[in-house]
Amino acid sequence: MVGEERVARYGMVIDLDRCNGCGACMTACAVENNIPPAQPRVNERTGLTSMRVHRASNHRGFPDHEEVFIPISCQHCGEHTPCMSVCPQNAVDVNPLTGVVSQIPARCLGCRYCMAACPVHARYFNWFDPEWPEGMERTLNPDVSVRMRGVVEKCNFCHSRYQAAKAKAAAAGSREIDPADYVPACVEACPSGAIVFGDLSDPESDVALAAKSSDAFRLLESLGTDPKVYYLSEREWVRRLGGADVTRDSLEVHRG
């Protein structure tokens, strides 16, 4: 099977110099993936945010103070995928044809070991039963299954859109999808065009070219997990934020 189809490595490049923290990607992701409205007791530590925008600064005073917004979703690690190797039920699938790391909610036990294993905390647990107010069920995306309480979920690069692209290509008699047909929700929603998505193994794709840029970096590269999400910034202090040495920043205690 692998020999017949071209093996793709879908990835993203996010330009942090363009991201203004608007959160459109987060909203689009929530809409696309049927995230239920948060119940009153949900806080920023128990919500479902498969795409989540973080905020950081260079910790300098005026006039040198600078900030950056960093959208983080699952990084779709390619090497020793931490979440996949630890799941006791094999509920994490690393697709050999696309490189996309997906969660299988129907098989997930909810043990949350994968959440402990993920270095970027990109996995989210359904602490609550999903509930939609009367009438809101009409906003549900029919292509994406709703998850139940007690399972883990995360970004899967909008797998339903990939399947739609494949279906369209198959209807047209082609085995290969048209890259323009497969655009995840966050990419589509970003007003600054900060997110570029595509097949990293295609040397001519925008995403592959951007990933090769000298301003490109990945989060926690030193851990050796080979993530497929790259970030761009001309600012050196931003590029350093991807390192595993946290002593440069984040020295305040936050009590949750």
Binding site: V86, N90, C108, A116, A117, P119, V120, V246
Partner: protein, 414 residues
């Protein structure tokens, strides 16, 4: 009233007093079961765990009681395989405590997972690369073995032994007990280790990640060793507590000494290896992941004092106490040493679970703390109450301490 169920030749308090003793624990159990019910019915939002603290009080305490419950398999191994016959005095109690610890841990785990009814999925879709699969298999089978080891103790009850089929079955089980002791030791070795392996393989968490031997990180071996070292200490402390509460002498003093000596030797080896491992981790493993070791201890209350407490105060100190023959003769020192050793293993499990999750892995993340909710605490207290109730029933109606009668008669002072 229940005199005929109690072994002749031992003194037990009146039925009324026994019921009075059980009452507060039953109430605690009831409250805890209510909290447990809330978590099952309403979901894990009843706890204070969150996406950052995916593991909380329950996992930490589960690891701790499994480590302490290691006394069961280790005492069995020492008695049936290495033939240290002195330990016959405590083996029954150790088995009951082991059963309580493991059954309690499994109960809490069933609440801790989001979908308890899917627990069998691990057996049907096993991921052989995952330490947690190994833990699941091992603990399930081991709990069965513990139940099998509990059965003869139960069947020897004064009235139950009169039933001929029970009696004969108990006799046959007793003959094959070394098989179960060996299987128990094998399984325990692996699951104690895999529980350590759970954290040692986390590449994404430089605080927990360790290098290792083949597929097993050093935490695999360190967890086994710390469990073996503190198992006898916990048997010692629990026997002492039971003897204080029941106001009876239950074992001859030299049994305590033996337990302490075994614990002492294992502890000192553990402290040595743990220190080496810590140094290698701080100087090589963590920097290789790109992390700066300073970040592991940069935030209160998890600063370097915790490391010192874990290894020196609660590791080296009890080892030295236990290795001193003079101190082993004194009950005060034995109990102090045991409490320190058990405390050490609890702190170690705490550090590997809670501290690991509290530390930021990304430069722009905060350090976070978490406080368990009352439902979490109550659920755990339900397990403690269950343990006390089951142990009390076993102590009253079964022979947990074979030397008790002899000691009560005034014989066997040693």
């Amino acid at each position: 009233m229940d005199k005929t169920l109690i072994l002749r030749g031992v003194r037990r308090c009146s039925t009324g007093r026994f019921l009075a003793w059980l009452t507060p624990w039953t109430l605690l159990l009831a409250v805890g079961l209510f909290a447990l019910g809330l978590c099952l019915v309403r979901g894990l939002n009843q706890t204070n765990m969150d996406n950052r603290f995916a593991f909380g009080l329950w996992i930490f305490l589960d690891l701790a009681i499994i480590a302490l419950g290691a006394g069961a398999f280790f005492t069995g191994f020492l008695l049936y395989i290495l033939r240290k016959d002195d330990l016959r005095a405590v083996i029954n109690s150790a088995v009951v405590i082991g059963f309580i610890c493991y059954s309690g841990a499994v109960l809490v785990l069933m609440v801790d997972v989001g979908q308890p009814l899917r627990a069998w999925f691990t057996f049907w879709h096993p991921n052989t690369h995952s330490m947690l699969t190994e833990v699941t298999f091992c603990i399930t089978v081991y709990l069965t073995v513990l139940a099998i080891e509990y059965a003869p103790i139960l069947l020897r009850n004064r009235q139950l032994r009169k039933v001929p089929s029970f009696l004969v079955f108990e006799g046959e089980l007793h003959k094959v007990m070394p098989v179960f002791a060996a299987v128990g030791a094998f399984l325990s070795f692996f699951h104690q280790g895999s529980l350590g392996g759970l954290y040692g393989v986390l590449q994404g968490r430089p605080f927990a990640f360790r290098e290792g031997f083949a597929i097993w990180p050093t935490t695999f071996f360190l967890f086994i060793l710390s469990a073996l070292a503190t198992g006898p200490a916990f048997v010692l402390v629990s026997t002492w507590i039971v003897s204080k509460v029941s106001r009876k002498q239950l074992v001859k003093p030299h049994v305590f000494s033996l337990l302490a000596k075994i614990s002492g030797w294992l502890l000192i080896v553990y402290v040595g290896l743990k220190s080496v491992d810590t140094l290698v981790w701080l100087n090589r493993t963590a920097p290789q992941s790109g992390a700066n070791p300073v970040q592991f201890y940069a935030w209160q209350p998890f600063a370097t004092w915790l490391l010192f407490v874990e290894i020196v105060l609660l590791g080296l100190l009890p080892a030295l106490i236990f290795l001193s023959a003079k101190r082993r003769q004194s009950m005060k020192w034995l109990i102090t040493g045991s409490l320190l050793a058990c405390g050490g293993v609890v702190v170690n499990r705490f550090v590997m679970t809670i501290q690991t999750l509290s530390l930021p892995t990304l430069a722009f993340e905060p350090f976070m703390l978490y406080w368990p909710s009352w439902q979490e605490v109550a659920t755990f207290l339900a397990v403690v109450a269950y343990g006390v109730i089951l142990y009390s029933l076993s102590f009253r109606y079964l022979t947990l301490f074979p030397q008790e009668r002899e000691l009560q008669r005034g014989g066997g002072a040693s």
